[in-house]
């Protein structure tokens, strides 16, 4: 890695493309482009030198790579759960369901760098002794799904997938699977149920997918960005990746910046970058307005007011200490014309709509919360509604089969925590405290 780029990483003022390193190139998604930048060299080297799965897992552990889909579980540890030599069919699944509002990073990786995902998944299959893989892509993006199918065909034709990959004794079949509109299928067991051709209703954990996954077989599920980070780590070493970031937050993370900024888009930055540096990269708050609030990692993470987020660094510990979390990196910026009550109404509708309906607290609770906030927005709020919203949300949290229930409670509790006066004003006066609403 050249000294200049290394310094930039340490300064944490610029992007550091790893997953998005082909985005600026013509014909970015083609096999030729990927080969030109050194693609598929890592899987060939692994197969040629017969590098042991243990050694590869060690490198990934050192890198500090954590699940980039939102849970942030250390990838190196996760990949040690499925034993390479355990018998029978095993599956590698890429979770490209990307349903968290404000997230659009995986779409860009699929669109501009599909082969890096493929190589990452192939390396995973080699480590875990898996034979088949699926990339579960959410239904709303059609062109990107088709282009990934093309990339798969290219890779198979060039013998980077299928039987005897690169002429070595290693087979791996990879397919694309298209969802069709269900946020809950971003939950790994619901995703597995969906691949089995059923409703995406989450299973109980334990057993975890590593023990009982697709068709009951051991399955590893990881996010698109997680797999796409692997080839670079194998090429440059875990330590190089770790050094780009900060302690407990190795490497880069793509932040999907949306909302009230001049230049919404995907920014792959070194973890640990101060928030105000990312805001600068995204062109600052739009129309010369003032920052009011930011949701750092998607609506499943607590909102932070401007005063808090402006002094925070974007990494797992930094955001945790500020009272929020990296989540999926879906950074939603809100300016001072935003009515927090109306925004919460829309978010609570989302969770109500997307609840799979399996368990009572989520199915009934999300609807209840939405109806109360709707009532407030219609000018019929009551003073006791504040306590009711918090009470219902707290009774959903921790009592559901999956994390969607926990996620649904987060915006309610965090919005009320930081913007209580707006809710009280709306209840008292029947209208928003803010000039323009987003109702």
């Amino acid at each position: 890695m050249e000294k200049g780029r290394q310094n930039k990483a340490f300064e944490k003022k610029e992007t550091f493309p790893i997953c998005l390193r082909t985005s600026h190139l013509d014909d970015s998604a083609s096999l030729k482009t990927y080969l030109d930048i050194g693609g598929y060299q890592q899987i060939q080297r692994i197969l040629r030198e017969k590098i042991s799965p243990e050694k590869l897992i060690e490198e990934i552990k050192i890198s500090g790579l954590r699940g980039r889909g939102g849970a942030g579980f250390p990838t190196g540890i996760k990949w040690s759960f499925i034993q390479n030599d355990s018998p029978g069919t095993k599956y590698i699944v890429c979770n490209s369901d990307e349903g968290e509002p404000g997230t659009f990073k995986d779409r860009e990786i699929i669109k501009n760098n599909p082969h890096q995902i493929i190589e990452g998944m192939t390396i995973a299959a080699y480590i875990m002794g898996a034979q088949v893989g699926y990339n579960y892509i959410h239904g709303e993006i059609w062109e990107e799904y088709e282009s990934f199918e093309n990339a798969l065909a290219e890779a198979k034709k060039a013998n980077f997938l299928g039987k005897s990959i690169c002429g070595f004794n290693f087979d791996f079949e990879l397919f694309a699977f298209h969802g069709y509109g269900a946020y809950i299928c971003g939950e790994e067991t619901a995703l597995i149920e969906s691949i089995e051709g059923k409703k995406g209703q989450p299973r109980f954990k334990p057993p975890f997918p590593a023990t009982y996954g697709i068709y009951g077989r051991p399955t590893n599920v990881n996010n698109t960005e997680t797999y796409a980070s692997i080839p670079w780590i194998i090429q440059n070493g875990g330590e190089s990746f770790a050094n780009i970031g900060v302690e407990n937050s190795g490497g880069t993370k793509i932040f999907s910046v949306s909302g009230h900024v001049e230049n919404p888009g995907n920014y792959e930055i070194p973890l640990g970058m101060p928030f105000n540096e990312l805001l600068k990269l995204a062109g600052g708050v739009w129309k010369g307005r003032t920052l009011k609030a930011v949701i750092p990692g998607g609506p499943s993470t607590p909102v932070l007011p401007a005063s808090e987020i402006m002094k925070t660094t974007l990494d797992y510990d930094g955001l945790k200490n500020a009272g929020s979390s990296v989540g999926a990196g879906s950074l939603i910026v809100m300016d001072d014309t935003t009515c927090m009550v109306s925004t919460l109404k829309r978010l609570s509708y989302f969770f109500y709509e997307e609840s799979c309906g399996q368990c009572t607290p989520c199915r009934e609770g999300t609807g209840w919360v939405y109806r109360v906030i709707k009532r407030i927005v219609e000018g019929k709020g009551k003073p006791e509604d504040m306590e009711l919203l918090q009470d219902v949300s707290q009774k959903i949290s921790g009592r559901t089969i999956c994390a969607l229930g926990d996620a649904a409670a987060v915006p309610v509790l965090s919005f009320i925590k930081y913007f209580k006066s707006e809710f009280e004003y709306f209840i008292k006066n029947g209208k928003s405290m803010v000039a323009k609403t987003h109702d």
Binding site: E98, G99, E100, P101, G102, T103, F104, D106, R107, Y134, H138, G139, E140, I141, W142, E143, F175, F177, H178, G179, Y180, G181, A182, Y183, S194, I195, E196, G197, K198, K199, G200, Y215, S256, V257, S258, G259, H260, P264, G265, N266, I295, P299, S330, I332, V333, M334, T338, T343, R346, L347, F350, E353, E354, C356, H438, D439
Partner: protein
């Protein structure tokens, strides 16, 4: 009856799964059928179930669970527009008003000439291009303005 092309497409999907797991292809099968027919009828869902050797009720569960399936007649062009937070912050609600006014229909309704129908969608994972919409679950249009919407409707209508 399922058309020959439909069956060919479903067979292509079936190759992705083990022989004894044909049910895995149900989402793809229903999506292929919907793309051809515009929407799913009970008969079509039953045909898909029979072709995949699965209980009809299981196919019905799938058809009613996933948001993008249409169980009632849709317009020739089904417009799905996202109103979730990142699009709402970039004035998607103005685009919604514009569409409703222009087409003279509300969400889940079809225009009299059956050309257009409108659907409210959740996040489609392309928020950098907000506000945005898709037509027939396939073509996505980003960075919408009322003028661009008019242009798109005109192109589709011609």
């Amino acid at each position: 009856m399922l058309t020959k092309i439909t069956i060919q497409k479903i067979d292509k999907e079936l190759k992705k799964f083990p022989d004894d797991q044909k049910q895995s292809a149900i989402i793809a099968a229903l999506q292929i059928i919907q793309t051809e027919n515009g929407f799913l009828t009970n008969d079509l869902i039953a045909m898909a179930a029979d072709y995949l050797d699965m209980p009809k009720i299981a196919a019905m569960e799938v058809a009613t669970f996933y948001n993008m399936f249409e169980l009632k007649p849709a317009g020739k062009y089904k417009i799905s527009i996202c109103t979730n937070i990142s699009c709402a912050l970039r004035d998607a609600d103005d685009i919604v008003c514009h569409l409703k006014k222009k087409l003279k229909i509300d969400f889940n309704e079809v225009t009299k000439d059956k050309k257009f129908s409108l659907k409210e969608s959740e996040c489609m994972g392309a928020c950098g291009g907000a506000p945005l919409m898709t037509v027939n679950n396939q073509k996505m249009y980003e960075y919408l303005t009322p003028q661009k919407v008019d242009q798109i409707l005109e192109e589709l209508d011609s």
